[in-house]
Symmetry: C2
Subunit: 332 residues, 2 copies
């Protein structure tokens, strides 16, 4: 096995987020479950929802893309594979991830549909409720995989969200084979409870088949995956199936179980919770970067907590401060 | 003269801002004068500069558009006239200004060039340095003017920036005639010292011809317009030519001279200066809304200062809080 030249290569939705403020009454009126992600399938439905949205701001997003952008900001070497269309939002996505130092070479796709957009309604409590029009992102073909880049990455990172559309799902299955064939690790994030309700059987099979080395979940996702109601039972059950399990618990911090070793971290205090968009993505960034640097489990968790705290104190899921300098200062 | 059904109708550049962080060394390397606005004429040059920019966020902008968005957020009734292209950024601009409650009916323009973009480099001191690709905005034709809307507005508001391209300049001259013919007031913002160096003779002639009722300038713009070096002399000279003169002085607050009456306001203290983009635009919004509500000169200035303070405490030139509630609370 040759030495890895990338820390993490990710496959995920290539999305531009459109964030606007909304109140709880709006979510209720639109039948949205707060904190969830739902898919919007038709361009017409997406346009209609956009029409009801307040003034917005556009910031590149996508769960796994946010994670590699975070790792790059921390000083790690990353690549990203995802499908944008040949349009202005596709240019914005490509610019932002490259400007963050992430290698991104997936060719844009001509014609309809447009680049994916995620309409994010941020309520006064800082929670985000997402409506994703997958657009071009759902057409990522297996042929778009840069196999050499995947083989050269210590970790392949995949997002559960992208399991929804068929083409990217096949691409991700192929990518797992490439990574494992090269002796690399595979990390996976469960993304969302609704995503698990759609694809839980697939996710459980990936674990049972020993194809996942590092699994990220929040509390609700872990319970949904384990199909039990007790948190500790869920942790024990899933930890037995994966070498490294990381569970984020919002304001209650996070825990990790790695080959029997157990560690936990408190949530990092913040001045003001503004927008939780990207909290899990950036937690994963901090944790994975810690692991890539050979940090111990506790320190990796703390790096995750620090990155998550930065991202929820402003709008959008891409870092606004020099994460590398922040981590160096906080860890001393 | 019939009663006005709009408080303010503005004509200005229809721009989507792309904001990114940069340091002073970058500005120096690129030969940019901090705090200024320069035009980028070719799409290739704009793309090359975008390529050097860090990860960005897109927020609708445009000086006069920001001002009417602010007045609408304060509860005023506004319209906007400006040219976007038939593309994604044009849709973003149209969505945001309509979602703020501003009437915007200017038909989008097919084909090249794209919707205007302003690449804004925000330095750690909060100053913004702007590079504007005018795109479709420079092709606003006189035929696009909604004359009935202009006639129905108490105030027509024009931005100096849009004096650069020929078609919108002619459109603005025609709009001044429409407004004055209907017995309405005309407000004008000088926008930028470089803009005055290009069009100072025109601006001075507008004043000399008595075509402007309310003039907005910052200190440097006032000196450039008056072509003197002494601030008080400049104030006296220009105030003699316009019924209402408003001069913003950054951290030193602002003054207004209206038909011999003089008032001043201190800058509103803020917790953290993050991005000065839109400070002047939102000052104008607060002042004009105060005047539209029949507030006295001092109160109108204070409303300007409060709106400017809100906008510089976050990224982007569109309000993020409920300005109407904020003003009600602060003015008591």
């Amino acid at each position: 096995m040759t030495e890895a030249t990338y820390d993490v290569v990710a496959i995920g939705n290539a999305i531009v987020d459109i964030l606007a403020q909304a109140d709880d009454a709006f979510l209720a009126q639109e039948g949205m479950a707060k904190g969830s992600m739902q898919l919007v399938f038709s361009p017409e439905a997406a346009a209609a929802l956009y029409g009801k949205m307040g003034p917005g701001r556009e910031i590149s997003g996508g769960s796994a893309a946010n994670t590699v952008a975070g790792i790059a900001a921390l000083g790690g070497k990353c690549g990203f594979i995802g499908q944008v269309a040949d349009d202005q939002l596709g240019q914005v996505f490509a610019h932002d991830i490259r400007a963050q130092g992430v290698r991104f070479d997936t060719a844009s796709r001509a014609g309809e549909p447009t680049t994916a957009r995620c309409l994010i309604f941020v309520t006064p409590d800082g929670q985000r409720t997402m409506n994703t029009f997958l657009g071009a992102s759902q057409f990522l073909p297996e042929a778009a995989l840069d196999r050499a880049m995947i083989e050269a990455a210590a970790i392949l990172y995949l997002e559960g969200y992208l399991w929804d559309p068929e083409e990217p799902r096949q691409a991700m299955r192929a990518a797992i084979e490439v990574a494992r064939g090269a002796g690399r690790k595979v990390a996976f994030t469960l993304s969302d409870t609704f995503c698990i309700s759609r694809h839980g059987d697939d996710f459980r099979r990936l674990l049972a088949d020993g194809l996942i080395d590092i699994l990220f979940a929040n509390e609700n996702e872990l319970l949904a995956l384990a199909q039990v109601e007790d948190f500790d039972a869920a942790v024990d059950q899933v930890a037995a199936q994966v070498p490294v399990l990381v569970v984020t618990r919002g304001e209650h911090g996070a825990i990790a179980i790695a080959n029997g070793e157990r560690a936990s971290v408190a949530a990092e205090p913040i001045e003001r919770l503004l927008d939780t968009t990207g909290a899990g993505d950036l937690f994963a960034a901090g944790f994975l970067h810690g692991q890539a640097q050979g940090r111990d489990l506790s320190t990796s968790l703390r790096m995750g907590a620090l990155c998550a705290a930065e991202i929820i104190s402003h709008y959008g899921a891409r870092p606004e401060v020099d994460l590398k300098a922040m981590i160096a200062q906080k860890l001393g």
